[in-house]
Point group: none
Chain length 226, copies 4
DNA sequence: CATGAATGAGGCTTCATTCAT
DNA sequence: GATGAATGAAGCCTCATTCAT
């Protein structure tokens, strides 16, 4: 399965790029190096000029692919959620027990990526780190509305919907499945970040899977039937 | 009580400013207009120059008070959490039932501010909007570590700790009180933001207090004794 | 006559293009869309890239035809003056009275084009608008001298000369026929432009042919014998 | 009189600058060097960077004074017309004969500036050259309307109006005084330009004041009573 | 011949900051 | 302590152009 997954090519909504970076060597270089550079210096400090220097091309080359750096972040985020959705579908496909299914899904959403698939030009471990620390910024912008029309959050929404449906499969009467799952997804990001920088906001102990345990407990307790 | 509260002056950690903005007319103008301006144009586009134009002073004046715009955001955030902590302490002080106490606390954390106290120069309604949409950015920065040393997240942590303690008062065996409460605080922000811009990620219905209900249900279910 | 005129093909001096745009579909598309685009966005903002987008070809294709955008403007201007000269010759060919002849010529120079011939790919109405607002820019350049050597102003000069000769036919002693006619041609452009944007510089009344009347009066009064 | 004139300070509409260049040494340097630089390389090639190099300051300094290069051209043009208006008023003030008055005015409008007053930082000879070759560009722009609202053409219009009134003093029945005078002003510019670069469009002979003579003859013949 | 890709150079503008008064 | 002036550095972006296919 793993191999199959990595051979697939993830299609990102055409609106986020001017020229598909996945269709040329340069384009793939732009993507893979964006990830590394954003991780290194943070999205705020990330510029086309610096990226250009990293890939040995002038900024203007990158402008052929993306309108601005915001769009690159969108590209990466969409790619990430698409990839996660794919993994989710495959990981849960043959599980019959609804509880087991949801359990697997939550783990997938919450646990950090630890191994790069090494097949594509995209380093998923680093990308995961970026999504954790930067994705919030991509929707807390004055122009989310604009972007939303662009359909760029479609994948993200669909992913949340998939897991929400698993919740409903367990308790059809639960009123807030989407809220719960989006809280889990974003909360997990935050807790990972806090664990690293503001540990007293969490209760994370070294070597224990506290974040995973907490969110699983939280989800199952929250949705229980009365 | 209200009057008492509004007369109090909130002390913000000295490290975030060069000169206390609360000690001069100019300084207070800087603060009150920062809030309005950030709300208007977003923190990314917020600059000392624009703020200067709004208050009719050159940028250099603002530099007397704050080292950079990041510090202003910190000031506002700290002020906000201090204010919230104050309200929390007063709202829960005489409640005996631990459940009732926690319930009150959660509501306070989760519900949006609807009325400006009109006593101070700070518009709490707008400030609340800013904290919702911008505060995440203030800790998802490469230099949280730095800032943390500055003790600027102290208030925030203390607030989380206070409510975590209320959780432990109900269930002393619950392993993740801090994680739970920080998830609630941040999650509530996110859900409010989503409700406005990406509603399909939430299950919010007009006129209903869905966000409050969801988080209360989530907290109490999660911490229940087995 | 009309039909005859529209079937004729206007030969533009070879020096302004690299490959004659009138010899291929693409080339004609380049010309007709240049006119529309310059009219839309102004010559300053007109670029090969934008033109390329309009005709669905990359910039490089346009480079096959023209060295730079300046040359396109020259092409259009030359085409325009050639076309006007043609119309002038035909309109005045069988008029015997010198006064009547000059009168007809002035009208032709001064009145705006109102109907597109619809035979060629060139929209004369729009082209006339462009020449009015942009042609001045084409000779107020540091390199008019250069362009002049290229013989590109030949047609324009010949047109002015033709009408100047009509002036001399009426008053052989008039000292400044070329000055008078070039003032008429350019002045008419200017007055049309002013009438639209700075009306207080003109004395144009709606529905009246004031510009035509003024220039005819001016010419005939100026050249009268003492 | 000359001395008196040169001591006066010409007030340019505040809307065209951010900070009045006439109030600081740097500002005056910006103005005087703009004139020289535009004359040298043409307005198209004129940039804040190049101007900055000429005055030994970075571009950013110039941005404190002017929003963009277009505004500098406007400033210069307005200054020029104001200066001309002043000269016009003083040159014609005590002339009783209406014909003599108009004659003097036309000469002033039409003859090139030959001597720099040497009192102000502005070189009027060079400025005159610029206005001749560049001013047309300043109203043949997509945004004349915008600029017009800004009242920047006010002086120009007033100047034209003044001379138009002199025309009407001679022949109150003449229908097109403004058209005539604006044609003279712009026509003179054009003829000077043509004389230099496209002489066959004019009938200018070396050493003779043909342009002046032509326009005087044109004006007086055109406005004669029937 | 048309095209797609790439690029260097430069334009325009804003920032954050310093300094002298 | 507030202000006005000035500035260097950098960001973002577009142009005009070339080259290989």
């Amino acid at each position: 399965m793993e191999e199959f997954l990595t051979q697939m090519r993830i299609q990102v909504n055409k609106r986020v790029f001017l020229k598909d970076p996945d269709t040329s060597e340069k384009g793939r270089k732009i993507i893979s190096n964006s990830i590394l550079l954003i991780d290194e210096i943070g999205f705020e400090n990330f510029t086309f000029k610096k990226l250009g220097m990293k890939i040995g091309s002038p900024e203007s080359t990158i402008y052929r692919y993306f309108e601005n750096k915001h769009k690159i972040l969108l590209y990466l985020t969409i790619w990430y959620w698409s990839w996660l959705e794919y993994r989710l579908v495959f990981s849960t496909i043959n599980i019959n027990s609804p509880e087991e299914k949801l359990n697997t899904a939550i783990k997938l959403l919450v646990e950090p990526i630890k191994e790069d698939s090494d097949f594509s030009h995209i380093n998923e471990v680093v990308l995961n780190r970026i999504v954790i620390s930067e994705s919030a910024k991509s929707y807390f912008t004055k122009d989310v509305g604009e972007d939303n029309k662009d359909g760029v959050f479609k994948v993200y929404k669909r992913l949340v919907q998939r897991v929400s449906d698993m919740v409903l499969a367990i308790n059809p009467d639960f009123e807030y499945p989407n809220m719960l799952i989006s809280t889990v997804v974003e909360g997990a990001h935050q807790q990972r970040h806090f664990a690293k920088y503001l540990p007293s906001l969490t209760n994370v102990r070294k070597g224990k899977k506290d974040i995973t345990n907490f969110f699983i407990q939280m989800v199952f307790n929250t949705i229980q039937k009365k």
